[in-house]
Symmetry: C2
Subunit: 170 residues, 2 copies
Amino acid sequence: MAGKVDSESSQDDVDRLFMRAALAEADCAEALREVPIGALVVRDGLVLGRGHNLRETTQDPTAHAEIIAIRQAAEKLNSWRLLDCTLYVTLEPCVMCMGAIILARIPYLVYACRDPRAGAAGSIYNLAQDERFNHRVFVREGVLQHQCSTQLSAFFQRLRAEKKDARQRN
Amino acid sequence: MAGKVDSESSQDDVDRLFMRAALAEADCAEALREVPIGALVVRDGLVLGRGHNLRETTQDPTAHAEIIAIRQAAEKLNSWRLLDCTLYVTLEPCVMCMGAIILARIPYLVYACRDPRAGAAGSIYNLAQDERFNHRVFVREGVLQHQCSTQLSAFFQRLRAEKKDARQRN
């Protein structure tokens, strides 16, 4: 659990600090050979929920980092309304996760790198700003972008190399 | 748990039978004073997962009927891929739930009535047919539409009457 953040820290410092913690969650996913994605729910400088992608480990199609972190934060607050919270995540959320962010009334979303194939906070959809929902999400992207995208690229590169190796052995 | 369906039943009979079971799940939600929505995941005539809206009871923003039914079915199959499954739900799924349906590779979705304010399978979005996803969902709507929409309308009417009563007492 990260400690309370010094109130004199700039917002940029705060965002980098929590994105580093989200990246540490992504490391946990990678150690399990899961696609390395990590997420945190934070309020007033305190971490209320954290999660990393566990789809393969749990065989649960909804076990994305964001969903796990959101459910943990809601349990901690004993409320489905995550008012005044920020969700930090290493990769742009998909449609399911953006839906959960909106349903949980999370006002701030910070993510590291875009997901051009499935991202729903600016890439293939921009659900954060859809005026037909009764909630809008303020989005900041690009925090620790390089570190997060490097980790993801390296993971997929390794996966492709392993598959090639396996094919050559057969 | 519903029994195996007679292979000679028409698809329409089968859909009505499972939608009635989804409606029974919605009744369970209503008994808890939750918005009455119920869902089932079915394969080869067998119910693999069932759920009803539990948002208020559990204070979990992701506790929609569909998510609960999907997670239960995945646990039963020990697989995040719900291939050859049909999801039955009494109300058109929201963005989060449609995202989960696509992630779980569910090929068939049957719902009773549209949600013009938040439905993502034809109303405000049509995620089922978005060619940018690597999965398409075949959708049938309108099965037991009247029963499901009547239940929802009656629920919200009662809620408004109760709120009016409470205001008048204060």
